[in-house]
Point group: C2
Chain length 445, copies 2
């Protein structure tokens, strides 16, 4: 039995079917779609994708053709680990039944955090996590053509939906309690993102708290912001309340605890995706990161192991990329506060360069990199820049997996040609600068 | 004394000056420019750069302001290693003198290979290596407005100059003795480049040998190709004849042999750039690769060591990127013939994907990857594709430096967002496919 029909669930079901042609596989999905790209929702809203269906990688019918018994609008309401049964509620017919399992796979996903303020449940207030959320937001945007949109919280989804509504021609205001945009970046790099947001015409209201929402405005502790439509970009939490109540071990992050084969401590019970924890490759700590690529990869690993094979998920480096119009953002590993929290004594360097040759009008790029002081081991990096900036973070993500030092990264043989890079790639320049800091006698943090 | 005023020489001179404010530094440059981007020449010819000066990173005057005694149009004609003097010919005044040195740095660069065929020295036949060559080619292109251009040899420079003349509106024909374009790629990947070249309107004449050139045509063993202007893209060889004659040890590649500090076996004599050998990180063999980024990095290393510091150049992975209009090309490590020559038993995998999400019209990308059969160690990769394809090679270049296996690369946490990548980055998909091949019982090569 697989609970959840999106990436983390269906990748597992597909692998299991591949390895065990005769296994009976039942997937319970409380919604109306399987295997969709939630990450693509901003581009649906922005108009770059013409129809919601384009975000669906595979339909229930396609899975059924592989003899995977996908039951839509079926919600798992409880798990009895002793009896090894799942209590299932058929949302369409309103009846409840029990389903036995030999192996169970949990892919219950995540739920948007909703600040507890008056008016948060208004029909024009949208949290965007599922394809059903997307359908509702798209309908609101198309029917009511909002002129003023307020985005609460500047994380990845907030940033991307701000872009979507800019593309729809709306005035966009962003509110965040934090002093800088993008909590996953350091303040100095977040400031570059905020600058870009302002440059693209977004009104920024940082260090303001939302006190209430009504049909025409969002009220903060500082002002009233006129808004016909409100987006919640305030993050998600793993959807594990029921799982915890039924005895599935949860970790400090609230996610399901799994080993490197994606198995929980309960034999035959696996988990993948937004609902479970991962090990951070640099800090070694458990983290809960809701990202489609992890759900896919973890689901695949769980499915192979459920099918009697052997596969492992080694952990996450915390790599993420996104963009706002022409501004690209990438990050991996630990930022300053994460490095401190993990107990690293670190040094950092930040450089400004161009993503390709200046004489070909290469756009600007800023690269910040952290390394452990004693060993020179690279701990993480953050990038903000123009075209070609974001995916350069992959070099650092690879370096983190290999536990490379700043010296190693400075020496890398990275691709050079004037339309693609400067003679020294900006990532290598940052590493070289970091190397200088590491050998200085100066103070570190 | 530094012989050669381009990247490999001037990077060394600058580092030496930084470390030793009082050292007497003389640079001998036989041409009229210092520190220029030869790699940028195609973009000057193509019109993306408006003036030749934009390719000059630093002028002789700028170096002189740092008390580096740059002598233009001065050619080193001999070296006496016992007397520790260089024989210098002043090309402007026609006189010769001797210059003593405590330390000598060789950065004599490379010379284009010129096939020995009648007419090769015609005024409309251009080899493109120095800025003087670029000035001559640009003058020919602007004054004579050639309608039909023939490029002999499809390497990086041939490909890039073919693009330049397409942009100038000329008809371009390419001739190569080889059966496929780009000798640094395998035949199957080179075929993708040839396809792209045809798609962009270039006439391809592969497996044809040039027999002669006159003012109106290039004659091959198969046909006569009308041509007002001819480009030699037939590669370069290290400019080391005089060095070898004077007792500087040369290797099997014809390049100067250096250690990891860029020092020759003669104390106090260093070398950097196109004239010297590098160690290949994967094969362990000496190679001679003429690429501006290596010249720069090796020059910096030589300069630091000449200045009493400690720096090393770890070797090259053979990374290169280029493009033809919208088609991007990247390669690193060993291709199939190089892997065989180095004695590796290898398996390969090739995958087709898109550089970003298909539902956002991500352009196609083909990634080919090789790994050693017994260990799974990645040996190299080749990429051909649309926007975002080429620089993905950097992930593999980083993996090569870390001696990663296909398993390691498949597990990398690479940046994912729909405008930047598919859920599994194409590089990871290729590694995963390779992993499948490695665990198959099938035949390997």
């Amino acid at each position: 039995v697989v609970i959840g029909g999106d990436a983390g669930g269906m990748a597992a079901a597909s692998q299991l079917r591949r390895l065990q042609p005769d296994a009976e596989i039942v997937v319970l999905e409380k919604g109306r779609w399987t295997s969709y790209s939630a990450c693509g929702i901003p581009y649906l809203i922005g108009g770059q994708i013409s129809a919601l269906d384009h975000l669906v990688a595979r339909t229930p019918e396609e899975f059924r053709a592989q003899r995977i018994d996908v039951r839509m609008q079926h919600e798992a309401t409880a798990i009895d680990l002793d009896a090894r049964t799942v209590e299932v509620h058929n949302l369409e017919r309103g009846r409840t039944f029990a389903l036995g399992f030999a192996q169970l796979h949990l892919a219950t996903g995540a739920t948007p955090r909703r600040p507890e303020v008056p008016g948060i449940d208004g029909p024009h207030v949208h949290a965007v996590q599922t394809l059903a959320d997307a359908a509702s937001l798209l309908a609101d945007a198309e029917q009511n053509r909002p002129q003023r949109v307020c985005v609460i919280g500047v994380g990845y989804i907030g940033l991307e939906l701000a872009e979507s509504f800019l593309m729809r021609g709306a005035e966009v205001t962003v509110v965040d309690r934090a002093a800088h945009a993008m909590a996953s970046l350091d303040a100095d790099m977040g400031a570059l993102v905020a600058q870009a947001m302002r440059r693209h015409g977004i009104t920024m209201r940082l260090e303001e708290s939302v006190m209430g929402i009504d049909h025409a405005a969002v009220t903060t502790n500082e002002r009233e912001i006129p808004a016909d439509l409100v987006i919640l970009g305030t993050g998600v939490r793993p959807n594990t309340t029921m799982l915890g109540e039924c005895g599935i071990p949860l970790g400090s992050t609230g996610g399901v605890v799994v080993d490197r084969r994606q198995q929980t401590s309960i034999p035959g019970v696996f988990a993948a995706g937004d609902c479970c924890e991962s090990r951070h490759l640099v800090s070694g700590k458990p983290v809960n990161v809701a990202l489609g690529t992890y759900a896919n990869k973890q689901g695949r690993v769980a499915g192979i192991n459920m099918g009697g094979g052997y596969a492992t998920f080694p952990g996450v480096a915390g790599t993420a990329v996104t963009k706002l119009c022409a501004t690209e953002i990438g990050r991996t590993g630990l930022n300053e506060s994460e490095a401190s929290a993990a107990g690293f004594e670190y040094v950092s360097a930040k450089i400004d360069a161009t993503t390709w040759a200046g004489y070909l009008d290469g756009p600007p790029i800023t690269v910040k990199m952290l390394a452990e002081r004693r060993t020179g081991r690279v701990l993480g990096a953050q990038i903000v820049g123009g075209s070609g900036a974001a995916k350069r973070i992959d070099v650092v993500a690879t370096a983190l997996a290999a536990r490379m030092t700043a010296d190693d990264v400075a020496a890398l043989d990275l691709g050079y040609a004037p339309p693609f890079s400067t003679v020294w790639d900006p990532v290598a320049v940052a590493a070289r600068q970091l190397l200088g800091r590491l050998t200085e006698g100066g103070a570190s943090r």
